[in-house]
Amino acid sequence: MNSVDKKALKRESIIQTALQLFSTNGFHKTTIPDIASKLGMSVGNLYNYFSSKDLLAQEIIRYTSEVLGEKIREVNMLDVSAEEKIHKIVEIYFSMAKEKPEMIEYFLRVYLSNREVFSDGCEGMVCVSGFITEIMIFFDDAVSSGELRNQDFFSAFGLFMGYLGGMVFLKGEGVLPKDIAYYIDDISRNIYYALKA
């Protein structure tokens, strides 16, 4: 492995560790020394990769958005109905909440709750465009094929993602009586019926 690859790998491991710590302990309660010590690296060396905690936080949201966007992109490429795509997107979102809860938790509990950290560099959709773009493409395809009703982007987006985010939040609070996977079928159907043409 050459040094460029090694550096990229290290960078990603910093992102993943910080993601875990920020999601579990909160952004403000997690310090750079905490992250460095968990990784077994010096604070000085960590600063070689990210010059501030805010920049690290911004990189994490970009990273999670890309990971989620990449999965939805695969769904967009499938030759299946919009109804099936909705089911697959819900499945992806909930299985991510189950298997990599820190990813969704980070979005809900760090990104949305500490806007001041993201105001300079992650304005609006700048850092989440990897994910938003794929949702836009999903809607565009589904409306042009006549499966979903044409409307304002945000009224549809809010219904879809607000619903999923809300469910994952409830899961995080430990108030869902059943495993989140149990809700996939019903929620997919609800979203489809709400948006269909």
Partner: protein, 300 residues
């Protein structure tokens, strides 16, 4: 040293199903007679010319360059008792160059709406080649536009009169004129880049793409490079581009941009949707103060 009179190419302007729009548009060229002076104008629909329409219908006129105006129909349009399609074919065979002037003659245009099965352009039916294409392709130059820009036709005529080769694309449009989009050179480009839409008709500020159906980003033509009346263009003065040079013209609902959940149904020419949406999402996240202000404060 100038050419002697009799050696000038013979120019014949022939009309089929037309509103005369291209004829009239070309009359606006400030140097129309200078352009025509490179030719012997054997027949023109409104200017005095050497031969009458009777001669034309009798298929008696010599012709080197044929300008064709109006949509094509094989049967049912007669003038002086002669099918116009017969005149077109005859003079098309005679000519060394055929210019289809306007979208009707080129692709079918507005008059195609009357009978889409029978009416088309001369060598193209929208984008499909007609049965005449093979025969006439080697001498065909397409000049779509509703109407044609006078300077576009003048460019072609002057190139031909000087024996110069005109580079064309797959639909036979001169690249020099149609290699650009109408968006190129639009004075509202900064607003397009930052996704700031206009707030009303006739305002100097804002882009017309999202709110008023502007087709400039995916319409080929140099309206914002070679200005109309040497002065301005539709988009510069606040009227959306209607895409009048495109094979599919006219689309319906000219003042409306079709969107799917807010996403434009047609992307700017050649731009992948994913790239466009990524860029759009990013720039929309910023508010640029200058673009939210009036250019002139009329009230003060």
């Amino acid at each position: 040293m100038g050419q002697v009179q009799h050696s000038k190419p013979k120019l014949l302007w022939l009309q089929s199903i037309t509103c005369n729009g291209n004829t009239h548009s070309f009359l606006n060229h400030p140097d129309i007679f200078s352009v025509f002076s490179g030719f012997e104008v054997v027949h023109h629909p409104v200017l005095e010319s050497e031969y009458t329409f009777h001669d034309l219908a009798a298929l008696k006129i010599p012709c080197d360059i044929l300008i064709l105006e109006g949509s094509f129909i094989e049967k049912g349009l007669t003038k002086n008792g002669v099918e116009v399609s017969k005149m077109i074919t005859h003079y098309g065979n005679e000519a060394s160059h055929i210019i289809t002037a306007g979208t009707c003659a080129t692709f079918g245009g507005i008059f195609k709406q009357k009978d889409p099965e029978q009416i088309s352009g001369f060598c193209f039916d929208i984008e499909q080649q007609t049965e005449r294409y093979e025969k006439f392709a080697s001498k065909l130059i397409s000049l779509p536009g509703c109407p044609i820009h006078p300077r576009w036709l003048a460019y072609v005529l002057m190139m031909l009169s000087q024996g110069k080769k005109i580079a064309i694309d797959r639909l036979h449009r001169p690249v020099e004129l149609y290699g650009y989009t109408v968006h190129t050179g639009c004075t509202r480009n900064e607003y397009f880049e930052w996704k700031v839409d206009t707030k009303g008709y006739g305002l100097k500020e804002g882009c017309l793409f999202y709110e008023q159906g502007c087709q400039g980003p995916y319409t080929r033509g140099s309206c914002n490079k070679i200005l109309w009346n040497d002065t301005s263009s539709k988009t510069r003065i606040g009227t959306p581009c209607f895409g009048c040079t495109e094979p599919q013209y006219p689309k319906d609902r000219l003042f409306v941009t079709r969107t799917n959940m807010g996403i434009p149904a047609t992307m700017p020419l050649g731009i992948p949707r994913r790239a466009y949406l990524t860029l759009t999402g990013v720039v929309k996240s910023f508010k640029i103060k200058r673009f939210s202000q009036r250019l002139l404060e009329y009230d003060q």
